[in-house]
Symmetry: C2
Subunit: 489 residues, 2 copies
């Protein structure tokens, strides 16, 4: 499997040629959602970023196992090591069992991801389904001397680990700074150092989600699940680990430490992080009231939104920025994306109907080369899309008779646009069926009004023709006192 | 919460008034699929049966927690206690990791269940996610003396249990007969008696899905997951346990024994079983080549099918039989259901447009009483549907001016049909959007041909009118050398 794909590796801070450990197999792990609320824009970006990578790797010919987890236990409020579990807190509010919260928001996440046309991952493991495996890794880390038990909880010993390893190598954090900056929260006093993190937490009496272990009835620390589930399904060493930039520290830094402490070597070859989303230049946050859920985006029902933006507009908009750049949502920018998206879809339609000539006046090979060069350059989708639009100009010129294309070049261009636009970028032609329904009703009204007028003018040939031809189309017209009614047979 | 619902309890073999243990809460557990292949007709029936019960209980006002499991480990080929795991076997065939099989077929099951408009359960626990809890129940049963360990596996001691309990009380099986009739399979020689069943199995070296336990690296017996997950999420005693009749023995009989042996009392108040499906009078089986997958049903792509039958036709067809009767699929019967379904949907549409009179000549209260009486009679949906069609006759008579209805009665009837048809029976109006698209294209062609003719006849008033009015509807007409083209703006 030959490829020229380069990936920016957060670990080495440079673009590297992608060389999988065991070609043609590729293992990719991406951090999924903690399912205690509806999905928002922040969930869409990593899902789409790594969906395009998944699609491209498969397109090149790799056999990709894509694992994306569901966090359903152990993720505490404020991402802290003490306090309430995010899911249990929501369950208490709604007066239901925590697993009902997990089910509800896993379902809604799946629905949104399907709307965004992201492919389902090969495996979607739940943290709560891997308690045994997590306890096993805690034991390994304890056995290797990189953790300690206090009052039924087990903490990772960062200082000990740092004696022989570089804690901070992913995020660039320096241990001394961490020590000074980390706030000490209530309940964390069991720790030797404030920067230590929980591997296993003894459950408070009111904590519902708990399992027996040799240390206590408790639950695993948040960072542990990803180290465990990635290696369980992808092997001790695998190719790609992705996630949002906000997870780089402490989550991914802790994952690196856990894997190294347990197995003696690093688990991940390429670390990839998508950058974050802002709304009108501001951080998305509940306190700023600018938290936009995906359902709100798709329906337009949010006070900051001037209109609805369909899933394909959102997808196209996200792909118009490079995944490592911040992305600012605004009505203006989204409306520009909507126009661009429609122009692209129109061009694809035009492309399927172009007339062929004996000679080509255009260079289709050049378009392809530029497009794949952009894709191979750390998935530079905005540049890729710019080249797609260069191609759109050419398509429209051919359609207008200003340029010509021969048969082979047309097939080549059609395949190229089909592969890139639909297969790799994962766009779909978003013509809402509901709006089609409305359109049919409108057009039928127009047609039946014409028929009424023809009748008035005693032009029965026309009025009968309309009725008869509709009947042939399976649409029955019935004249009533209130006017003509119609029904699909 | 007052209700008159009676349920046929398989355990007592009679219809009993439904009285939940802790009103207004109702706990319902239904056996879900073993996810190693696409969903077939046999999956649709229990899903729809208990979906209607779930909907009805919620309609009455209960707070229902509906748990339906996903079996992803421990279900061995031939439902036996030795041999290959169904999922691992398929994974080996497809050369993927077992959890990829689980993910793939869980996704396709969810898709099919959504097409059938079944509501998602409140919690959908996976067997592999509850290994710890299963090991805990094995320990309880061992501790209470109803199980024994041999070579790393643990078996339920049916003979011991039968000294003080009635093993067979659900299925009516008699222990002596079982002893004589049970085939001894290779690898079962560890058992004291052939009718004993596995609670924990030591994994063979080639077995991938395995977890550590105090007995061996192994996996739980198939029957155990349901006893564990039902009581984990619904409490040690809960209201309803449902499933297909094929699960009555041994699966549900073993569940009863496990719960009683572990907790000292029965877990389930009402046992409900839907009957099985036949195809043209024959048992559905792979060897008879009459195994019809739901996707095949919906697309019509199976050699036994004369046409496609949409999800709502399948749902309506299933509801036209009582859930405790066998149900025979045939093209003739499905086509009859399709007609009936359309007649019902037409009537609902007519109902929304009926003219009101000052007096009613019809008795709407009577229809409602009969409908709910049928529903309360152990969910007798075929009788209910017959009463719905009596109502359809009345609706059509009112529409034809032969009967009259006043304002209150009309609202009453509209609410009744809405509640029963859509909310409780869970039907949807299945007008395929794709066919609407086609219709729009057809009707637009007709309209543009009219315009062309008007132009030919120099009737430019009409041709311009058509173009202008379409423009107002957001449809742009463009005249080209090949004729008129149109595009939605």
């Amino acid at each position: 499997m030959k490829n020229n794909l380069t990936i920016y590796n957060t670990l080495t801070r440079k673009k590297e040629l992608f060389e999988p450990l065991n070609p043609p197999f590729v293992g990719m792990y991406v951090c999924g959602p903690t399912v205690y609320g509806d999905s928002h824009l922040g969930h869409a970006r990593p899902a789409i970023t790594f969906d395009v990578l998944f699609r491209y790797l498969k397109y090149v010919g790799y056999k990709v196992r894509y694992v994306r987890n569901i966090t359903d236990v152990g993720h505490l409020v404020n991402d802290a090591d003490a306090g309430e579990d995010k899911i249990a807190k929501k369950a208490k509010l709604d007066q239901v069992e925590p697993m009902e919260i997990v089910q509800k928001y896993t379902n809604s996440y799946h629905k949104n991801m399907e709307q965004l046309n992201t492919l389902p991952p090969s495996i979607e493991p739940h943290a709560s389904a891997h308690i045994i495996e997590q306890a096993e890794m805690v034991e390994e880390i304890l056995k290797n001397g990189f953790a300690y038990e206090v009052n039924g909880s087990v903490y990772f010993d960062v200082a000990k680990y740092s004696e022989t390893n570089n804690y901070g190598k992913l995020s660039g954090r320096v241990l001394e700074d961490l020590q000074n900056n980390t706030r000490i929260l209530a309940g964390q006093s069991d720790k030797k150092n404030s920067f230590d993190f929980a591997l296993w937490k003894k459950a408070e009496p009111e904590h519902i989600m708990r399992w027996p272990s040799k240390w206590s009835d408790g639950f695993p620390g948040w960072h542990l699940e990803c180290s465990v589930m990635s290696t369980k399904y992808l092997g001790d060493k695998f190719d790609i680990h992705g996630g949002g930039l906000d997870l780089q520290f402490p989550h991914h830094e802790c994952e690196i430490a856990q894997s190294k402490a347990a197995k003696g070597e690093d688990a991940v070859k390429y670390w990839m992080h998508n950058n974050l989303i802002t709304i009108d230049g501001q951080k998305m946050s509940k306190s700023l009231n600018n938290f936009i859920m995906l359902d709100e985006m798709f329906s337009g029902k949010h006070k900051l939104l001037e209109q609805a933006y369909g899933p394909m507009i959102v997808r196209f908009f996200i792909l118009q920025a490079h995944y490592r750049s911040t992305l600012d949502f605004s009505n203006k920018a989204l409306q520009a994306s909507e126009k661009g998206y429609k122009r692209l879809m129109d061009a694809v339609k035009t492309l399927s109907n172009l007339k062929i000539s004996s000679l080509s006046s255009v260079n289709v090979q050049d378009i392809k080369e530029k497009i794949f060069k952009a894709l191979d350059d750390d998935m530079n989708t905005p540049i890729l899309i710019a080249h797609l639009f260069d191609g759109v100009k050419i398509i429209n010129s051919i359609n207008a008779g200003k340029e010509t294309i021969n048969k082979e070049d047309l097939s080549f261009l059609q395949k190229l646009y089909n592969d890139i636009v639909f297969e790799i970028l994962g766009l779909e032609n978003e013509e809402k069926s509901s709006s089609e329904d409305e359109k049919l009703k409108d057009v039928m009204n127009l047609l039946l009004n014409l028929r009424t007028e023809a009748k008035k003018n005693k032009d029965f040939a026309t009025s009968d023709k309309i009725r008869d031809e509709l009947k042939e189309l399976g649409i029955i017209v019935k004249d009533t006192r209130e006017g003509a009614e119609w029904k699909i047979q």
